[in-house]
Symmetry: C2
Subunit: 339 residues, 2 copies
């Protein structure tokens, strides 16, 4: 059955049925009014972020289930909350739907949204349904909170800071390339990288831990790619950065996919977007003592990849010691091919 056969208000009722009533006491009023009403204890600063996922730009239906797409749509927003060191409070979802889209597809998408809502305690409290003459698009806005004065911004990096990243880099890019070139990779294990691409895991609790224990000066999530996102930190902070290529954490599967496609895995790690790992800067010596506890707690590596210096832009230091300026080559919507 198609969306246009059900109508706007019946569709909203069906979608609402797929969402359990929010368990959070702070949701005073959820879906079904002009606004959601939320009640927070005093002492928090509020975080507000928005992100759009468009079919054929951010995802393809051939490569992901409706649940995967829903997961991704909310996860990327939760990652922005993580990137400030906060926790989500609630989300609102604006759907732009082609009239001939199947209702079952939208319901699957909502199941994926709800999976993230449950996993990260980010109840969906409202939204909007609109017709579009174009492709499916999902814009989500998330309200978050962080202890007063504790939000971690891009602009706090200082000369001498160490640069660290969580997890491994370039896997989402490897997954995207594996999906694009599936026939050429027959027999190669690609499930893990494809899953990284399809279902990004925001580092929410990791960021909270690091904010509480790590004395961080700046924090960003890796959505556009390390070269681009670290450049954002440098620009906002008025500093430069040196990345040590030999230190970049790469998974074995990423290396194998890149090798099979004749690509440089280092380029995946530097410029591949959508890993949604954290990149942060902290005073020298602050993070290393936390590494063992962090890794045990979150099953997630924590790797020092460079340092902040005076100047501008990001410099890449190769294993042989040579340095060269790193071009910002992360994702730009209007200067990139579609996936």
């Amino acid at each position: 059955m198609q969306v246009q056969a059900v109508g706007e208000f019946a569709l909203i009722a069906r979608l609402q049925q797929r969402l359990p009533p929010p368990q959070e006491a702070r949701v005073v009023c959820g879906i079904g009014d002009d606004c959601a009403v939320l009640r927070l204890p005093a002492g928090s600063d509020l975080l507000l972020t928005t992100d759009t996922q468009e079919e054929e730009v951010h995802f393809r239906r051939a490569w992901a289930t409706p649940e995967d797409i829903g997961w991704r749509c909310l996860a990327v927003n939760v990652s922005d909350i993580a990137a400030m060191g906060g926790m989500p409070v609630a989300a609102v979802v604006a759907l732009s739907l082609p009239p001939d889209l199947e209702v079952a597809f939208v319901e699957g998408l909502y199941d994926g949204l709800q999976a993230v809502a449950t996993a990260y305690s980010c109840p969906i409290v409202g939204g909007n349904v609109s017709k579009t003459a174009g492709k499916l698009a999902v814009t989500i806005s998330v309200l978050g909170e962080v202890p007063r004065g504790q939000a971690l911004r891009r602009s706090g990096a200082r000369v001498g800071d160490e640069i660290w990243v969580t997890g491994t880099l370039g896997e989402a890019k490897a997954g995207l390339e594996a999906l694009r070139h599936a026939p050429r990779l027959a027999g190669l294990a690609t499930e893990r990288v494809c899953e990284r691409y399809r279902r990004p895991r925001p580092r929410l609790h990791e960021a909270w831990y690091l904010r509480e224990h790590g004395g961080l000066h700046s924090l960003i999530d890796l959505s556009d790619g390390l070269s681009s996102d670290l450049a954002h930190i440098c620009q906002a902070s008025g500093v430069g950065a040196v990345l040590e290529a030999a230190q970049l954490p790469l998974a074995e599967e990423t290396r194998r996919v890149a090798a099979a496609l004749g690509a440089d895995p280092l380029a995946y790690a530097l410029h591949g977007g959508e890993d949604f790992e954290l990149c942060f800067t902290a005073p020298p010596g602050r993070i290393a003592p936390l590494q063992a506890d962090f890794t045990r707690r979150f099953q997630c590596p924590l790797t020092r990849v460079g340092y902040i210096c005076a100047g501008r832009g990001v410099t890449l230091q190769l294993p042989d010691g040579r340095c060269h300026p790193l071009p910002v080559a992360g994702y730009d919507h209007f200067q990139a091919a579609t996936p």
Copy 2:
């Protein structure tokens, strides 16, 4: 110059330059990080709402300037905050842009957004820019606040309540029809109704006043049309409503446009969406004493149009006393023609 020639990050920088730094002390961090950071005094409940405006669905470039379109995009969200009796805190703007869109158009749109941001103290604190293969779409989410426990919901209407509306009804519909059939209306004064369609004025301060003084039981803004929006109140409250056709406030210009097009002005008032007037219910006798003060203060009529009764749905009482059930004929995205 087209959007694709400028690129995502340079475009964001250009748009940011069109927005003055927020004057509000509660904006701790505006555009340029993963999230905006906002600080509110204790004692408020938070409101969160989102709305999308799509080209060819909600607006046409032929009928409105870029500034008009920007105005509309933020105004409809501010109206949702008004519809809870709240005040806006901040907005985030997600743009879906065709790559060949002119940068000057997007800048004009931002000027329109900023005009609303200034008029209603709703600073734009962040957003997202995405490419789309479809038409221009703008999704805005607004955070608002209302004194704790004071949010006015749709679900509070009680049997015996009076039903009131602000302003005059059907003007946006008259404006839309006037734009559609401009050649047939040559010589007729339509500027006022066209302006109502192009630049809806959220009844923000009016709603705040009514919440403080009117003992309101329920409140909604008229976005889909009175028949549809009042039905939302009835459904949410588990009550019925009687609308008295003779009482519906219609402007002379609306009557003239309808007459020239052979249409029923009552249908404009009942089913025409996008007036963004307020519709509310209150105990008998509570509102009439406020009428003179309200009208003087806001230069806006306040009209009793019916009452809440037991039962379900909305009944229309004609001037001759006959009653019939009012079909819900407001705007449904998937069961309506495009404008």
